[in-house]
Amino acid sequence: MKSRLPVIVAFLAGVLMIVAFFGRGAVVDRVAEEALAWQTIVAGFALLLGVGSIVRVHWHRLATGHPDRIYSLVLLICLTVMGGSGVLFGIGSGTLFDSLFERIQAPMMSTMFSVLAFFIASAAYRAFRARNVLSAILLLTAVIVMLGRIPMGQYIYHALPDWANWIMMVPSVAVQRGIIIGAALGAASMALRVILGIERTYLGQGG
């Protein structure tokens, strides 16, 4: 029951979506439309599960005297202020929620990802070696594209932008297409396994 019922629910939900694609009946369309709306609501609640886990972990750190408990306190205070302001005063422009996002959260997120520029440069210096013909091809293509895509490239050699365009539109598209087809077939077969109940890892232990 604990494993069988969810598998049946997954099967019915999956089959409904597939039938809705082919079926043009009013009943099927109406049921599918309602199911899609329900899915957005349930998925929204699912996002809050992660918040619950974070609170549990950091509350435990506070309670047990973890060495980094001061940072856990900072996290919980920020969570409370941000969440509380959103719930009580709204999330639109001009609210405290929006100000905290625009002035602190978004810039920090941008900065965290901008640090990757240093890491990729360091990796290029340390690991990008032309050890054989294939890696030399990779290196050469990367250099042509990097030069062809910058304004200075056309001044280094006039044909670099055209070479970069050709590389992107012919060999690169060919490989990307092969990868898209392969990945799509894999994803479709995985989806079928979930619908048919063969794949049950989402049920967790005992599933």
Partner: protein, 205 residues
């Protein structure tokens, strides 16, 4: 004096502080970075709380329920609340029901999406007249890439030759992808430096 504090240097000081705190990690891990990291995690979790409360609970459940008397929204709302059964060991298994609903319907959508929206158009556009170098290279490139990534048979004999052609194409594509990845990462850094020099310190226009 109050006018001085309305200068962008002061109004953007919190933003600049957290930006520099994150950058300080490049030197080494330090308390400023840890503080900024935990502020970020707390704000992110709090963002989801405010967002889901307003977007889902208020706009998708409460308003239709109270203004349009759509009682049916109580069903997905109940399923959503059932997700939290996970935190109660005795009834924890019940969270599988809403999870199965979401994953099952997503799987159904994905099945059609991948075949109808990805495979068919891409395969269709690979069936090209072999009347130009570009078309020949495209067809060879797609087929040899698919064969290179087919690992259920050893790459020997004719299959091995085609796979060798495939890996050459793959190296070209990955080189191009590396170039674009560098471009992407560098752009993010440029954005932050522009904020620090132009918006905060007004050292450039």
């Amino acid at each position: 004096m109050p006018e001085l504090f309305s200068h962008p240097f002061f109004t953007l000081l919190p933003t600049a502080f957290f930006t520099l705190a994150i950058f300080s990690f490049l030197y080494r891990d330090n308390p400023f970075f840890k503080f900024a990291e935990h502020v970020f995690a707390g704000l992110s979790a709090g963002y989801y709380c405010g967002l889901i409360f307003q977007s889902v609970i208020n706009q998708q459940v409460w308003i239709p329920l109270t203004q349009d008397e759509r009682w049916l929204v109580l069903v997905p709302a109940a399923l959503g609340v059932l997700m939290f059964a996970r935190f109660v060991p005795k009834i924890g298994w019940m969270m599988r029901l809403p999870l199965a609903f979401v994953i099952g319907s997503t799987a159904g959508i994905m099945f059609i999406q991948q075949l109808h929206g990805m495979v068919l158009p891409q395969v269709g556009r690979t069936i090209l007249p072999l009347d130009s170098v570009e078309n020949v290279l495209l067809v060879i490139g797609v087929l040899s890439t698919l064969i290179y990534f087919y690992f259920s048979k050893p790459h020997t004999g004719p299959l091995g030759w085609v796979a060798s052609v495939g890996i050459a194409f793959v190296m070209v594509a990955f080189g191009a992808h590396f170039g674009y990845t560098v471009m992407a990462r560098v752009s993010l850094l440029i954005g932050r430096i522009q904020f620090l020099l132009i918006d905060w310190l007004h050292l450039a226009s």
